[in-house]
């Protein structure tokens, strides 16, 4: 772990060293819990759970939030502005988000860039389900947030069929606005990955699972059945 690059990393180094000292009869500096009362295995587990894992999670969140892999997925007008954040002026590579992945299996950020028709909604839902945890979604532009200027029979807002983490307003949003949205998401992931903001709208456990031998969840939703190609 690159301890000096995160404010919590430095802490974690001290804790780890002092924990091993403690096992030999030392003391834990800076811990508010009455760790002195614990002994032997209990103390070891306490240190592993309370000190090491929380700081590791923060380090992982820091790494994840600085290297989103967005899916190459464009719908309409906003897709052109989404392409311009990769281009030279707003250069998204400065923040480490430039690796657009063509396969949803390799992506962890879905930017819904444009209007979502009723015909397209199941396809998008399936693409989202095909992405593996951890994953996030940004709704870019007025259309997929609220059906925008059209607001008619053909469109459906993205929140109706999938969990969205950040909405970026605009028609279409400027590349700077989308950049701001991505950085907001980075802050959310960095600050508190366990705050429950994803559980709240059911964004956990939506991965598409395979059925058959060795795969237990036969009753799970989002499972492709046999030769069914609708919505493929």
């Amino acid at each position: 772990m690159e301890v000096r690059r995160t404010p919590t990393g430095h802490e974690s180094l001290i804790h780890r060293r002092s924990a091993s000292e403690l096992l030999r009869g030392g003391d834990i500096n800076g811990l508010t819990v009455p760790a002195q009362e614990l002994t032997g295995e209990e103390l070891e587990r306490h240190v592993a759970e309370r000190v090491l894992t929380t700081t590791l999670e923060k380090a992982v969140a820091w790494a994840r939030s600085n290297s989103f892999f967005p899916a190459t997925f464009g719908l309409a007008c906003c897709a052109i502005e989404m392409m311009s954040i990769v281009a030279a002026r707003v250069d998204v590579a400065r923040f480490g988000f430039e690796a657009f992945r063509a396969s949803p299996r390799q992506a962890d950020l879905l930017i819904l860039s444009g209007r979502v028709s009723i015909k397209m909604a199941p396809v998008i839902r399936r693409i989202y389900d095909q992405m593996l945890e951890p994953k996030w979604a940004i709704s870019m532009g007025a259309c997929c947030s609220s059906m925008g200027v059209f607001n008619n029979y053909a469109l459906v807002p993205a929140d109706k069929f999938m969990p969205i983490d950040v909405h970026v307003p605009g028609c279409p949003p400027r590349p700077e606005a989308l950049m701001h949205g991505v950085l907001k998401l980075r802050k959310m992931v960095q600050d508190d990955p366990d705050a429950g903001w994803r559980e709240r709208y059911g964004a956990i456990g939506t991965e598409e699972v395979l059925t058959g031998e060795g795969y237990a969840q036969d009753t799970a939703v989002n499972v492709p059945r046999g030769s069914d190609t609708t919505g493929a």
């Binding site: 007008c77 311009s84 002026r89 028709s117 015909k119 397209m120 059209f150 053909a154 028609c171 279409p172």
Partner: protein, 418 residues
């Protein structure tokens, strides 16, 4: 099978890949059996959400069936429910790379019905913005097409120039895309101070940039191998299919509505129509690149010859009165109120107004029943018609050439599905 489904749905659902996969396991039949693959709607090379069912024999394409409608937005129907001047924003969002052209086709149709005379300065300003838009559209096409062929640096060069054009759009209208700059009777505002200088600098620099694109691509070994001689289609077949624009011109037919039926003062400008010879993918690339030079020439001429005068018609039944008149003139206030609340009433009739978009003939059909809302608005979008030619172009070629052909076809799904 559910009998309530439409024929289209039933056909769509009847496609199954299971039997084809079973046949593939029999080694002896490989190479003789057909194999159908699904391509899209989520695929980076489809330039949108196009879905193709491609039937292959080995690596050779035997049949292509496009399935469209994944960004159907109901724009034509929405337009029937809005006053004429409020239709412009939704019409602009059809083909999202040629927003000035979309609004020009609609506005031209309504102006013809209203018999409004557009001031010369407004016509020239429209030409400047449309040609800037044509360059911008071709830049996005060139950047993404080169990306499909594996050349990623072209994307950055093209988007660098695109940003300059969007800066100009933002300067004159306040928006980068979907600017709503064209207004029935003229343009919404005159160009701001300093716009002409910025535009002149762009006009001087852009030809050298297009030279650079040519130096990178035109004699590039990979580009030549991927594009030259692949998927040609002759002008007669293209005309039978109704294909227009750069695709038709690449096959040697110099059909361009800016010359054939000039609108918005295009007859004042001196420019050439680039055409190809054999109509293969390389010609399609070369024609579009040459068109950018011609567009720069038109912009330069329009800027130098920009006439003085009003930027919008003085007909108060069509155009909003200037802001300062509202404080002093009761009539201006009434006209303003009527226009904003009800909109203009257009005499009954129907009209088809075609213009030359970046992808071909972009026509707008408007039928008026005398009220303040159109009875029917229909767009003849070039992407939709051109997509028909894809199967004719790519059949019998390799699947890798299908990707290149689709890129050179330059379909915009927003325009196809509307």
């Amino acid at each position: 099978m559910n009998s309530n489904l439409s024929d289209y749905r039933r056909r769509e659902q009847s496609i199954t890949m299971a039997p084809l996969q079973e046949q593939l396991s029999d080694v002896e039949t490989v190479g003789q059996e057909l194999f159908t693959i699904n391509f899209g709607p989520h695929h980076p090379a489809t330039h949108g959400v196009l879905r193709l069912l491609v039937t292959l024999e080995g690596e050779v394409v035997r049949d292509i069936k496009p399935i469209i409608g994944y960004v159907h937005t109901g724009i034509e129907k929405t337009a029937e429910d809005k006053a004429y001047w409020k239709v412009i924003p939704v019409i602009e969002r059809m083909d999202y790379l040629s927003y000035y052209f979309n609004s020009m086709a609609f506005i031209g149709a309504v102006e013809t019905l209203l018999e409004v005379e557009v001031p010369k300065r407004a016509q020239y300003l429209r030409v400047i913005h449309m040609e800037l838009n044509r360059i911008m559209s071709h830049l996005v096409w060139l950047g993404t097409s080169a990306l499909d062929l594996g050349a990623i640096s072209m994307f950055w060069y093209c988007f660098r120039e695109r940003e300059r054009i969007l800066d100009l759009f933002e300067f004159s209208s306040g928006q980068r895309m979907h600017t709503r700059y064209f207004q029935i009777g003229g343009v919404i505002e005159d160009i701001p101070t300093g716009f002409a200088e910025k535009l002149r600098a762009f006009v001087e620099e852009m030809p050298t940039r297009i030279d650079q694109y040519g130096a990178l691509l035109s004699r590039n070994e990979i580009v030549l191998q991927r594009l030259r001689g692949t998927c040609p289609l002759n002008a007669e077949t293209l005309l039978t299919l109704g294909v227009t624009g750069p695709l038709l011109r690449a096959a040697g037919n110099p059909w361009d509505l800016r010359k054939a039926a000039p609108y918005s003062s295009y007859e004042d400008f001196d420019f050439k129509i680039p055409i190809g010879t054999v109509g293969d993918n390389y010609d399609r690339y070369a024609v579009r690149r040459a068109e950018m030079y011609e567009s720069v020439k038109i912009i330069g001429q329009a800027l130098e010859g920009l006439p003085e005068g009003p930027h919008i018609t003085s007909d108060r039944k069509v155009a909003l009165p200037p802001r300062h008149e509202l404080a002093t003139s009761m009539e201006a206030l009434i006209h303003h109120f009527k226009l904003v609340t009800e909109g203009m009433r257009v005499p009954p009739g129907e009209i088809y107004y075609p213009i030359e978009g970046p992808r071909g003939e972009l026509g707008c059909f408007v039928r008026s029943d005398g009220s303040s809302k159109p009875a029917r608005v229909h767009m003849r979008d070039p992407s939709f018609v051109n997509l028909q030619a894809l199967a004719h172009m790519a059949e019998g070629s390799y699947i890798a050439d299908l990707i290149a052909t689709l890129a050179m076809l330059d379909p915009i799904l927003g325009g196809i599905d509307r």
